[in-house]
Structure formats: C-alpha cells, structure tokens
Symmetry: none
Subunit: 404 residues, 2 copies
Amino acid sequence: MRVIAEIFSQGEEVVSGQTVDSNAAWLSQNLNELGFVVKRHTAVGDCLEDLVALILEIAVRADCCLCTGGLGPTIDDLTAEAASRASGQDLLFDPTALQGIEAYFAKRQRSMPALNRKQAYFPTQAVRIDNPVGTAPGFAMQIQRCWFVFLPGVPSEMKAMFSAVREQLLGRFSVQPDCLVSLRSVGIGESAIQQRLESLVLPNTVQLGFRAAVDEVQTKLLFPAAFAVDERMYWTNQVAGLIGDAVFAIDTPEQTQGDLPTVIGREMTKRGLSLSVIETASQGLIAAKCIGQDWLRFVQFSANIAITAERWGCAYFADDLAQSAAELARHLQQHQGLDWQLVQLYHGSITDPDQPIVLYNALQTRDGLFQSSMNVAGRLQTKQNQAAMLALDLLRRTLKMTCL
Amino acid sequence: MRVIAEIFSQGEEVVSGQTVDSNAAWLSQNLNELGFVVKRHTAVGDCLEDLVALILEIAVRADCCLCTGGLGPTIDDLTAEAASRASGQDLLFDPTALQGIEAYFAKRQRSMPALNRKQAYFPTQAVRIDNPVGTAPGFAMQIQRCWFVFLPGVPSEMKAMFSAVREQLLGRFSVQPDCLVSLRSVGIGESAIQQRLESLVLPNTVQLGFRAAVDEVQTKLLFPAAFAVDERMYWTNQVAGLIGDAVFAIDTPEQTQGDLPTVIGREMTKRGLSLSVIETASQGLIAAKCIGQDWLRFVQFSANIAITAERWGCAYFADDLAQSAAELARHLQQHQGLDWQLVQLYHGSITDPDQPIVLYNALQTRDGLFQSSMNVAGRLQTKQNQAAMLALDLLRRTLKMTCL
C-alpha cells in the first residue's frame, strides 16, 4: 500500500526566504526511509487564513502530513489555532503540558513568562508530543483523511522529537520500510566516489544515492524490505571495498556508528589514550567537534605558531611545515605529557577564496609519527571545516593502523 | 497594490529530501525585496499530473509564480509539457533557442546530443528567457490570473538568468518594496523580548515578528515602502531601547551590520586590540566562530584548567571560579603579552542535559577587569554554543563600555 505523505513548513522566515527550509528535506528523507511516499512540500507564512486553507487542502489528498513551525509562545505562532479551526475542535488547556514547560524554565532557574502558557493549548482530540529539549510541545491529530503531526520549527527540537513520532507513525500506518545502508566517508568527493563505483553492477532493486554533507559524504544503498540480509551485506561490502579506506562508518538499520568524532572517541576511550592538539587553519574547530569527549585534554590555537615554537626551543622551518609539525608534536608531548599529540600547520591564505591552502598534519604516538598533507580550496568556512576533518581523519587512520 | 507571488520547485531530489531547496529561499528574498508578497512555496516531484495540477492551482490564486527545475534534456524533465497542458497551448519549436543550445556545445568543442533538442520547445505564447551559462533556456507565460516564469533548477543558471527576469517583472507589475529592519540580540529569549515590547503600541501598518536562530534572536520590524525614514528610525529606536543592551546589531535595507563576531571584529580592529582566550565549556568554539579575524591571537582549551593555573603559579579556587577566572586572565596577559585576555570557567556537568552549568567569564583589559556570570542549560551542543556566545557578548559589552 502506498501511503501518501506531505511536508508542511510554517513561518514568515521560510516563505520570505530568510531561512532555507532544511526541516522539509530532513523529514522527507526520514519518511522515505520508513516507506512513506512523499508527494509535496509546502511552506506558508504566519497568516491564519493561509494556514487553515492549507491544512484543509492537505487533509483531503494525503494520508499523513508532518508540519513544522508556529508552536512558539509569541503572537505570530498560530499553528494550534489553525489546526483548531481546520478541525472544528476547540483549544483545550493541557495541565501536563504546562508542567513540562514550567519544568523546562525551572531547570534553568528562570520563571516561566506568562506568554508560554499559550503553548499548553491543543485541539480537543489532539495527542500531545513532549519536547525533551525546548518549551514547545508538539501534537498530532486526524483531520479528515490525514494524520497531521505538528512539530516545532527549531531543527534540534524537531529532530529530538522525531523518534517518538516515528514510533507513532509505524504503529498507525502499515508501511514497509526499505532498508537503508549508509557508507560514511571523509576526504573524498561525491563524484570521485561515483567514479570508483562505475564498474559495479548492483541488482536493479537496489537504489544507489549520494548525499554530500558539510563533514562527510554519504553513499546510500536503499534495499527493498524483502532483500536477504546476507545479500545486503555482500553488496554493502562490495561498495565499501570500492570506496576504500575513506569509509569511516557504515550505518545500517540495525546499527548506527555515528560521526567521525564519535567513531574516533570510541576507539580512544577503549584504548585509554589521551590527546593534545595544536590547531591553526581549523582554529578551534577540532576541539569544538570533540565536545563531550574525555580523551581530548588540551588544545591550543595560535595565530603565530612560530612564537610558540621559539618559546619551546623547538626548531621551526617556515619552508618545511611537515618537518615543523613533527617537531612541534614532539615538544607538545614534553609540555603536556599526554599519550598522543596532533599538530596542524598550513601554507597559504585561508581568507582568500581563490587560493587553496596546503595542510600538514603530524600525529606523534608512542608507536611513532604519522603524517598527512592535503590541498583544500574554497570559502573560509569550508577550509576551516575541511582542515578539522582531515586532522581528525589522520587520527582515525592511525588508530586503525596501530590497532593490535 | 499587493502583488501575490508563489515559488514552485520541481524535482524528485527536492521532494525526497536529497536536496535542500535553497532556490526557493533565494527567489523569495529577491521577490520580497522587489515588493512582491510571497505567500507560498511548493515542491513536487517529476510527475506530469502533479505538475499540471499544481500549475492550475497556482494559476487561480497568485499573480506571479517563479518556478525552478524540470527544464533539462532527460525524460524526467517535464516542465514545458506540464505548462503546455495546463495552458492548453501546444509545444512549438523555437529555432533561436536551438541555435543557443548548439552554440553552448560548440563553445565547449562538443557536439550537441540529440536529447537536447527537446529544450527548444515551448508553449505557443511563451516568451523565451535565454540562459547565458547553461543549455536550458527558460520561459515565461500567462496562465489564467498568473504570470509564470520557468527557470532551470541549477542554482548558478537560475541566478544568472534572474537579472533579465527582474527587469521583466518590474515592467509588468507595479510593486513597491517593504522595508525590513532586524534587531539582532544575544543572551535574551524570544518570549522575554516580546514581554519587554508589550507596552509598545506600534503603528498598525508596521508588522512585528521574531526569529530565534542558534546564535541570536532577531526582532523584525516590517515597514511599508511609503513609511517615512525618520519615523522608521524613531520606531526602531523605541524597540531597541525596550530590548536594551542585548541588541548587538540593527540591520536595515541601507546597512547590514553582521553577526556578533563580525560586530566585535570591526571594533577590535578599529581600536587595534589583540586578544588571547582560555576556553573551557565552549571547547574551541569561541576560536572557531572568529575564523578570519586577525585580532584573535591565541586560544587555549584545557580539560583540566587547574593544571594550567598551577604551572603558571596562579592562584586557583575551585569554589570561587569568578576569582579564579580573574587570576587566570591576569596570568594569561603575562604569558601571551596581548592587549586583552578573556577567560571562561564553569561549574557543573556539561554532558548531562538535565543539569545546568554556571559560566564565569573574566575579561582583563588595560582599563580594568570585566566579568559576567550566567546559568546555561540544555543539550551538550546548546551549552557549548551558549558558552561561546556569552563570552563573546562580554567582549562586545566591554568594547561598548570602554569606547571613548
């Protein structure tokens, strides 16, 4: 059975173009993976008549609709009222919802503004969806043919609530999720991966796709629900082999391995290793990406790394940054006394989008020195992010190589 | 006169969520700036019936619609056919369009694949829009109430064609752009701002809105085009005064001030100041946010700041972090010799989402010591980001206070 779904985003910031609507794409991908057929995305502004009209349109043509935005405390947040009008159900005060909102503020040692009370009103027949990370609870309800799920527009809140929504949807619709395998890689582009896979002839029921995110490229294999598990593993391994050691994680429906810092963190913790880092081009982003990881003990950024080298009595050659990075890593060990030391240096202008930079990473371990070097081009933030990812990737590869 | 516009994006990659639709936001912003009222965005996949149905819907409710996608040479590119069916106008071969496409290939020393001939067919009454950077020409035509403009989905092509579209639209519609003023603030929530503004009675032609982003809250005032400039400034100042010193920038159509690091950077550079930083809770994110800014010279993150204090012979009181931050800032000045020193310390568990942390910031300047303290709750990344923003905000406030 094809279950028709739609996505509906509310907000002046979306319809005016102030915000690019990434929620719609995220929800679509998730619905597709569950087995829903997403037919349409619509965005409208904070105007009650427009909202009611849209809900009533969708109510007759879709089986399920995920909506984001308009659940905040302010006057321009109109979703509950629009759902109430479209369904003919009054708004009812939900004391449990209010307790949740009050608890949210209490935990932050702040008193709840009176305005937020508004967020505890839902149409009579609506099912509340709790928000573990914000003030706005969501709700779900049937309007004519369609099951509407209303979620906050703040992406982190919407995503945090989606696991509960997923369970609810799977209980309500008999969809057969296709089986998605995602091969996550770093340090290689989407089209280079596609070229490596050109020789491969996949079964024609298996769908191949790519998604380039900021930190990684995901190569996606979508297998039909009925596809045999060992066959699925066979094809996954074929693809992983062709992409090569740029693959840092393979996510399956059974197991998610996480992003690069998570994958590294698991191994560092298992082996009881600690790390100190010198960042230059990534300027704090290696540290920032590893937030919450105990093994990262010390990070330094310096706009003029030669000064640090001089203070440490460490040889520094401006024309041999590979050598300089190795020297700095050795001295960093002496200064911080940690297990491993990672040093990043670079040549070139990071601010000039027309100039690439050349990165030099050195990782001093107890088993020896490991190094990598790479060109990175693009905007300032692209270079910064790539610099952080490539340094972390040297750490990952070294962990893999030195694994007993 | 309000001219109602819509945006319509075609493509499986959009509706399946593989691609985030940034075209819609870009076109919306441009239409808004021209004075159109954008009421709705819609995305559908590559399905002829869906396309025809959508065109006919929009044809009766909007005055103008900008459409992207579906103009390519392949079988799933159905836009011209859908426009033909929706308008009842046959597809007509346009020899000039074909010459353009052939010239595109000739310039690249390639022969035109036969498939591309398809891109030279348009509905009888359509006006062709040449594509200076790709193979797909666009076209525009009236269908019932609405003037439809069909453009390629490749963002660079769509944008390259938009200047011609803009001229066409301004010739066809008498629009007057509204004037958006955005008051950007940090360290205060959306609902708290609204409460501060409760006493204010704005002229009823002025529209008030809010947008909470990760790093800031924007309070938005939309003035009609005819609103007098001094009146607009008066109301902007009223709102800014009520929100108070949390406002770090006011963006107007005449001038955009930028985000918090940009605002700070301008002032640091103007005054020729350099800064060193010790980060704890934000773990590199202060540094990362200031990428490309010359005045940030040195940043250190340490998982155990007491060790750094001990090495520096600096007094450290685990039960008085405000005092400890001040001491560390003083020692940091001795060690790095820069103009200003910012030290961030915190109490509590950053990883436990149920526990708030208490942040202590100390900023040592040549004019004295400035400090701030605040509770932050939420997920790990929320705490990390807030910690970075609040430290930067102390820097901004201090710059303002010490301004001559």
